[in-house]
Assembly symmetry: C2
Homo-oligomer: 144 residues x 2
DNA sequence: ACATTTCGTTTACATGCGTAATCGTTGGCT
DNA sequence: AGCCAACGATTACGCATGTAAACGAAATGT
């Protein structure tokens, strides 16, 4: 059973080879994605400015990550004069969705309630959280 | 800012060096942990029997993983005649907790409600899930 | 025109991980 | 006593990742 990629979360197809080559977005790469999701397109310089500050990364690091994301097809680069502007190709919602579902699948039988239950048991829910969840459920009910 | 291990989920201290060396439990390793959490102590043979079936792993693979977990201090091995019996040193609850919290921190500002909200927006909540969540909230309220 | 700056591209390198095979030791069988 | 089987320990190896530095080409300033 090929299960090397059971944990593959967000993946893309490599379009030069027709082979299906799922590629995860790594933790470091996802920091870059976050920056682009927050506001794009952005030049490498701007991405660097943000990540240098909030992750302490050097220029080379950010460039490598941008390139790896390009190869993985997770972002695109559009020429803008002498430089490129980068923008995400995969949506943040899809990414979040896949990551979350992956965690639920691995740890909670794919369902949300057991996760909430776990948090409750571990006393990680303060009254505000509970209130917020309650409001959410009400809204969900209203909607249908 | 050293943040290489921001994502470190479950970690242990290497006791020969006093250095703090956080080590994640990898995906494959966590499969071994699952087996031991389900029932322990267990001989390598028994762990293998399970993982050979449900992951398709060869003997060498399982032994490597057991050894890596030992080195990481995530499990212990107690001599039982000529063989060893393995048992977890870190609790499943702690592991699950750290993994879950890690995801929430990375994607949902550390809070649970936004995750639930995300699932709801993505229409990943069927009525049963909603009902279950509602029951949970009631129970939580009752408890305090 | 030439030197310099600025980008993107290529190369680097240690460590972790998935996935085993092989080695070595020790107890048991004949 | 010697051989075999069973187990743990050691070694292997390619790919991913974190973390860059070095290289090269193009644009810019002088």
């Amino acid at each position: 059973m090929r299960n090397r990629w059971l944990d593959a979360i967000v993946y893309v197809r490599n379009r030069q080879s027709m082979e299906t080559t799922p590629q995860r977005i790594s933790a470091a790469e996802s920091e870059v994605m976050k920056v682009l999701w927050a506001d794009s397109p952005k030049a490498a310089e701007d991405v660097l400015a943000i990540l240098a500050t909030n992750q302490g990364w050097a220029e080379g690091t950010v460039k490598t990550l941008l390139n790896r994301l390009l190869k993985k097809g997770a972002i695109a680069a559009d020429k803008d004069g002498r430089r490129f502007l980068y923008r995400p190709l995969i949506g943040r919602e899809d990414y979040v969705d896949a990551e979350s579902q992956g965690l639920l699948d691995r740890l909670f039988d794919g369902r949300l309630a057991p996760l909430v239950s776990h948090f409750s048991k571990r006393e990680k829910l303060n009254p505000e959280d509970v209130a917020e969840l309650r409001r959410l459920l009400e809204k969900i009910d209203d909607d249908q």
